[in-house]
Symmetry: C3
Subunit: 264 residues, 3 copies
């Protein structure tokens, strides 16, 4: 277990050579194990990238270096950041993508990347993932001190995911993400649900639409085929799903939609 | 050549963070090399997953640990399995996905995963790939004995792929899989084809449809552009193809379709 | 930094098991680190594969072995090649896919793969990526001499990417590739642009279509949202882009389209 991990999270897709160019840079500097988180973040959707890092990073070991590059501001004056936390290290642009994970991992310190010695030259204006973030991550894996690569800063773009709330007769929250199966992942943590939630009659509201008698079940397989259901998803947040169906398509809800669960 | 391999085969897609969460768990336990088989199995298509494992596992070295997670029954009472074979180890849900490969690799013994010590806690109800199968595979790579992780069982869901047959005047079989190029992979092994097959006049029948004079050639490039052809595919089974075209679209055949080859 | 890298570039897609079969073969022979360049080359588009290898290989370290398999002629008499260069080693079919990269890396020597000892048996007619190119790359990683695997040859299919030209009042070139964001990558190297290019009035012409007053900017973010722009892309070639938009869709241009930039 001596191996270091460097992960990559981008919106570059895997059709072109961009991801491989970043990995080539890493391979030129360190033997660390390279792991993909995703390269299919919706183009320039910083919030979606932030969500994926926030839900995935905790499963990686101490010392893992995560490189997250969803970067609509590349080539402008936005900074590049290293964020150290209690457990892992985050590298990416200063647009908020790293911050929910930094808050979650705790005790974080932010550095602005400043030392051109740890960048690839000629430095492109449009691909800092390859020319700055990948080599910086690789040099960190080799043990170069953070203070040698950048300078500590308290100015950075912040981002946090607000959590849903239990208001007694209702639980309010929002959709954070839709997965491949059409499951709607909410910001409602399972531990704010009432203890007798499974025995309650639950109505789901969003905007002026309403779905009544939605069962809260232990897993998809406990609902009827095609039935709308609530369950605790694998991230330990409440999920709106459909057994062997696509809840997102069926309900027509999008990320960021506000939802309410009426309890009676 | 001291390195262990852990492979992953799922229907999770690579857009979300599910696959990376499993890899994060593996990285937390072992330095084994991680290899993807596919994450694009059609959602919940256990049979397609079983086919991919069956055709791919034999190319991996002795001692490889394959994790296959196409798991519509996750969170219900279906068991989790470790299957040891003469050469490699299989880990996944008890729904048949591992079984064609177990039969192929031979001398297999089935264990039900029972020891919570080798699972991730809190244990989700919807993602045993991450919370049970990934850590179990990683602990196996570290040398934890099978009997410590689970208990031997003879009760499990079986699955085998029946092979096509040579009935003299005709060969009968079925479509098992359609690949990216539209090649139709059959269950007809090349060694049941008559020695003079390439000299014969062959008609392909499926349902009430019929295609006459289909040439049997050594490779796609030996047929005319756009011509329907038969060839021995890379898995050493008979394949229905079209040189620089898409045979599946052109013929309108689906996996599991019965076919006959009339020989005259 | 003792680790060897083997990269894979194919048009196989990642849905089926073909890529994993190649990796299984490599894992059976060597502990080298395996890196994907892309498996989403447009089916049988040798030129697109050649472009991706040409732009990606230079970022990998000395000694990397690149396996590129876009292979419409598989199973016919086309040769299999190893190309050694000053820095890296290329393995793939003799259809030109390796040659632009060989010219770029320099001092190249071509070997025809001839020794069946380094192939997988039974040798398929349709999948030399798995049965010839993957094991050959893995044996090279293990140090088997080139002359033991093949024989030197001066007969091979050549390919080079012609570069754009500065003709004073205009720059002529062509589109080589369209990336995921719809950026049009040209063959016009940034160092043939006039020093005062950013101050000039530029018109883009292709066929009988014309777009006037296209700004040349340092990065996407310096143009207005949805505005057509010229910039130096990450490969240090001129790129036609649209800030937060899709230039390729908007302009309707395809790879290989001839373009002219009128300067006034």
């Amino acid at each position: 277990m001596d191996m270091k991990q460097i992960t990559f999270l981008t919106d570059f897709g895997t059709k072109g050579g961009y991801v491989a160019q970043m990995k080539g840079v890493v391979c030129s500097i360190t033997d660390a194990r390279i792991v993909d988180i995703s390269h299919e973040v919706s183009p320039q959707n910083v919030r979606e990238g932030a969500f994926l890092l926030w839900t995935t990073a905790p499963f990686f070991p101490m010392g893992t270096i995560h490189v997250a590059v969803v970067d609509p501001g590349v080539g402008t004056e936005r900074k590049g950041l290293i964020i150290t936390t209690k457990k892992q290290i985050l590298v990416g642009p200063d647009n908020g993508i790293l911050l929910p994970t930094a808050h979650l991992l705790g005790d974080f310190v932010v550095y602005e990347i400043t030392n051109p010695k740890y960048m690839i030259h000629p430095l492109s204006r449009t691909f800092h993932g390859r020319d700055i973030f990948a080599p910086v991550a690789a040099y960190i894996a080799r043990g170069v001190p953070f203070g040698e690569i950048g300078t500590q800063t308290t100015h950075f773009v912040n981002m946090q995911f607000p959590l849903g709330e239990n208001r007694g007769d209702r639980i309010v929250g929002k959709i954070l993400y839709i997965d491949r199966f059409g499951n709607l992942l909410t910001n409602i943590p399972y531990d704010i649900l009432p203890g007798d939630f499974a025995q309650k009659k639950i109505s789901l509201l969003s905007g002026d639409r309403r779905w009544d008698s939605v069962p809260f079940v232990a897993s998809y397989g406990y609902a009827k085929q095609g039935e709308l259901l609530l369950t605790v998803g694998s991230n330990h947040f409440l999920e709106i799903s459909m057994n062997q169906g696509n809840a997102a398509e069926s309900l027509g809800l999008q990320p960021d939609a506000e939802i309410q669960l009426l309890i009676s």
